[in-house]
Symmetry: C2
Subunit: 295 residues, 2 copies
Amino acid sequence: MKYKEELNNKIKLINDYLDKIFDSFPDSQAQIIYEAMKYSVFAGGKRLRPVLMLSAFEAVGGKGEIIFPFACAIEMIHTYSLIHDDLPAMDDDDYRRGKKTNHKVYGEGLAILAGDALLNKAYELMIKASIDYPGKEALLAMDAIASCAGTEGMIGGQVVDLISEGRPVDLDIINFIHKNKTAAMIESSLKAGAILGQASKEEIEALANLGYCIGMAFQIQDDILDITGDEKELGKAINSDLKNNKATFVSIKGLEESKKYVERLTRQGMDYLEILKERGNFLIWLSDYLMTRGF
Amino acid sequence: MKYKEELNNKIKLINDYLDKIFDSFPDSQAQIIYEAMKYSVFAGGKRLRPVLMLSAFEAVGGKGEIIFPFACAIEMIHTYSLIHDDLPAMDDDDYRRGKKTNHKVYGEGLAILAGDALLNKAYELMIKASIDYPGKEALLAMDAIASCAGTEGMIGGQVVDLISEGRPVDLDIINFIHKNKTAAMIESSLKAGAILGQASKEEIEALANLGYCIGMAFQIQDDILDITGDEKELGKAINSDLKNNKATFVSIKGLEESKKYVERLTRQGMDYLEILKERGNFLIWLSDYLMTRGF
């Protein structure tokens, strides 16, 4: 229960900082764009990526406020990717987490711009925070995030996901999509947190490796929950992959083997945390929590 | 003629660096995204923003290679904004500079992702270049660009342009759109070039002011050419604003007053360059060239 409380504390810290950012936006004739951005940022996200970043930062002994603009930036990048993913030209989703998607509320044009605006604002935040930062860590953390968000990471994964639609896909393609579309940003969250916390090279590598493992596990767990999950707890309809005739890790490997693989990946990730001794305890609990989650 | 040659030399330097960037992308299952990005980056752009940045850099005595990743980044940000602008949910344009728009070639989904990818890649480039840069100038230049590209700049202008469609607009709204959608990025090009060239505070301000003036003039000149221009030279059909029933500075103020205003703005911009003495000569020629352009 102690760790669950710690998780909720971290989520609150991040939500408070996000609130502060949105409160700081100037009055503008373009006001509607801030509304559209805020709508999706506060649409019930689990704050997984910023929590992981903050946890890695603390686990390596990081101190100070530098982590918050970066943690909020990664949530903004994640949110922009969801807004664009949901567009009619992509996944064409009307609902996400039980709420209307951005373009269903604001129209397609503003939804595209709200996504663009969140991506740009994420960099604005990180750049401004980096100007007064004394060392190179802020730039290195930005580099880790930017590389994982682009064509050699998240966007690359989304591209292959898009062009694979309606085509037969094999496990190689599915792994490429999971690795890039999902795991890359989770990996970079932990890596950036470690860098900002002034971790050693070995600690940074260990936390990045944990990120890769739980990122891959996270996506497969998502696909498992699409079959076995509770619609209320999930906040969305199940069996969407089946209905959309979408091949997943689960549809190829079967439910049992997939569950085992999620567990194996998570354990493998946890093993990397040995280097942190007891300072890694919260991240171990969080990894286990993600593996056994029903939402 | 000397200056025209200098302009062509600068354009060639920028095109060569852009080529180098695209050649450096790794082989990937997501290869198509690099093609889509390249298609629009090499679709006949005038390279105005990177040329202005490079010119400001040189005018204040800047040295070294740091200017090129930044100059290419600003062209990528400009290109992403055009790709998203042309989408059916925005301006719904099939052609730009006589070539099919990105979504007409690659489809809407990939066009959205190509825009996202160019924006992200612009930051990747600037961040990587900044890591090895000894001073704070690279971060400050990135900050100038990022602030002007977002909701308090280009995106804000695009938002007001979008929500004003089909509504009566006054000169205030038109000026807001011009200032943010067009002038902001031109201003930040000159400002970032000056910062990277280690200019004095006064020089940076002078070049930013020049950028504001020729940026505003540039947009009005665009609207003038939409009436008086030669379709072949322009690479697009004229009278589009009239056909779309779109209010512009020209439709409100008339052709003659608009022409005078373009000239006045440009002269005003040139006056700021006095601080640079003869080092400002190329930028004065370029400002004049833009004011009298027919393309």
